[in-house]
């Protein structure tokens, strides 16, 4: 008789929370990119035209931020950077060349995942704050023109940081085989955990 071991990585609620944020990210990012560059204005067709895109974008962005707040409080403790993370970052270029041998053992999240987490948190906070400053027509009137000029630039720059972080996040999940089922099924295989998160594997299986 053979037995396969799976390790619980995410609860049902965390997974649904994650996919809600992901969905809102795509909606907010596509509608935001439509106004980011004239060459991308065609994206407004996905949202019912220019004015509708302008109306919907802030609501989708707000839902994304609110969704992330829950994820943030579920995960922030496990994403605090510690001393071994520096070693991971120093050796990251070797990992990118496919050589895993010099990487320090990792807990639930490696330093790359942690940096992506904080990049998400910071960029979403900036997007949230600056977004209100030129949210037409509801809040824009409370802010002078200079503040709005700064807000538009910071909003766009934060959005670029967020999009680049998401690209990193998605690619890492595709690159490290067996990762995606953590968010689709909630569990990962024992082999995946031993290879990629040995300290977390040990913690999960200690005493068995």
């Amino acid at each position: 008789m053979t037995t396969r071991y799976l390790l619980r990585r995410y609860r049902d609620a965390t997974r649904l929370n994650h996919w809600f944020v992901a969905l809102m990210f795509f909606a907010a990012a596509l509608s935001g990119l439509a106004f980011f560059h004239p060459a991308l204005f065609f994206l407004t067709n996905l949202f019912g035209g220019g004015p509708w895109t302008r109306i919907l974008h802030p609501f989708m962005g707000l839902l994304m931020v609110l969704g992330f707040v829950f994820l943030f409080f579920t995960m922030w403790r496990e994403n605090l950077l510690d001393r071994t993370d520096r070693e991971w970052i120093v050796n990251a270029p070797k990992l990118l060349q496919g050589d895993k041998s010099s990487m320090p053992p990792v807990g639930k999240y490696n330093a790359g995942q942690k940096l992506v987490f904080w990049a998400f948190g910071l960029s979403l906070l900036l997007l949230f704050v600056t977004g209100f400053m030129f949210w037409s027509p509801w809040f824009v009137g409370y802010f002078p023109i200079l503040v709005r000029r700064i807000a538009v630039v910071v909003h766009a720059a934060s959005a670029v940081v967020l999009i680049l972080s998401v690209i990193t996040h998605v690619y890492a999940a595709l690159w490290v085989k067996g990762s995606i089922r953590a968010m689709t099924r909630g569990t990962v295989t024992a082999g995946w955990a031993r290879l990629n998160h040995p300290l977390w594997y040990r913690k999960m299986t200690r005493g068995e």
């Binding site: 980011f36 895109t53 302008r54 299986t205």
Partner: protein, 246 residues
């Protein structure tokens, strides 16, 4: 209209009145900041016009304008400003304000002709003692297609805060200039770079994982929900969110 009661020199009171509206810049800040293609256009004759049907109402033109002119309508959430009656000009008529002005304070014509007319007015004003009289055609926005003859051209701020050297805000020109294409390259580059990275390096895979296709289906699958409580070090005790699920 904007009205200022000022004393350019002590004891010398002046009423300065100017028509405040779109200056029809040669390098329009509104156009530079507008995300919607075709919503703001600059015609060959220099008129800058807003095309309402293409306006999305984002308000970027309001922040992009160095003269603080465009406004978003509360009625339909679209941007409006003086069009210099582009429809009338297009059929050979002068703008309605020029037509209606009873005192000849407004003149309409080619930029060359208007500069010529302005220089006559300036000579006139200088003869009357306004030694700093001059034409307001600020170079910072490439010149404007609405110009003023000012008796105090050295101090345009006297005229209800007319900017001395209006320019497109560096915040607008930075973002809409170099940063926008660079960000596009970075985002597309990240996706394309990731693709080629995968093709070169290949995935990270666990070698010891059972493959159902290769090894046959397992008879039993066990999900480890949580580390046994007894084995957990006290300092890593997690809050209830990690509690074992039923």
């Amino acid at each position: 209209m904007k009205f200022s009661e000022v004393e350019p020199e002590a004891g010398k009171l002046e009423w300065l009145i100017r028509k405040d509206g779109c200056m029809h810049c040669d390098d329009p800040g509104c156009l530079k900041s507008c995300p919607s293609p075709g919503a703001i256009v600059k015609y060959a004759n220099g008129i800058v016009d807003f095309i309402s049907e293409h306006c999305v109402g984002c308000g970027n033109c309001v922040t992009g304008c160095p003269f603080d002119v465009p406004r978003i309508s509360k009625a339909d959430n679209k941007a409006y400003k003086c069009s210099l009656c582009s429809d009338r000009v297009g059929v050979g008529l002068e703008p309605a304000c020029v037509k209606a002005c009873p005192t000849g304070a407004l003149h309409f014509g080619t930029k060359e002709d208007m500069h010529e007319y302005a220089s006559e007015r300036i000579v006139d004003l200088k003869e009357r003692g306004f030694s700093n009289a001059g034409v307001y055609d600020p170079a910072g926005v490439g010149g404007t297609h609405v110009m003023y003859v000012l008796q105090h051209a050295d101090r345009p701020g006297l005229y209800a805060g007319l900017p001395k050297d209006p320019q497109i805000s560096p915040l607008v020109s930075l973002w809409k200039g170099a940063a926008k294409p660079l960000a596009m390259v970075a985002m597309i580059g990240a996706v394309v770079g990731s693709f080629f990275h995968y093709m070169k390096v290949g995935p990270i895979e666990a070698k010891d994982d059972a493959d159902p296709k290769r090894d046959g289906e397992a008879d039993d699958v066990v999900v480890i929900e949580e580390p046994p409580a007894s084995a957990r070090p006290a300092q890593s005790a997690e809050p209830a969110r990690d509690a074992p699920r039923a």
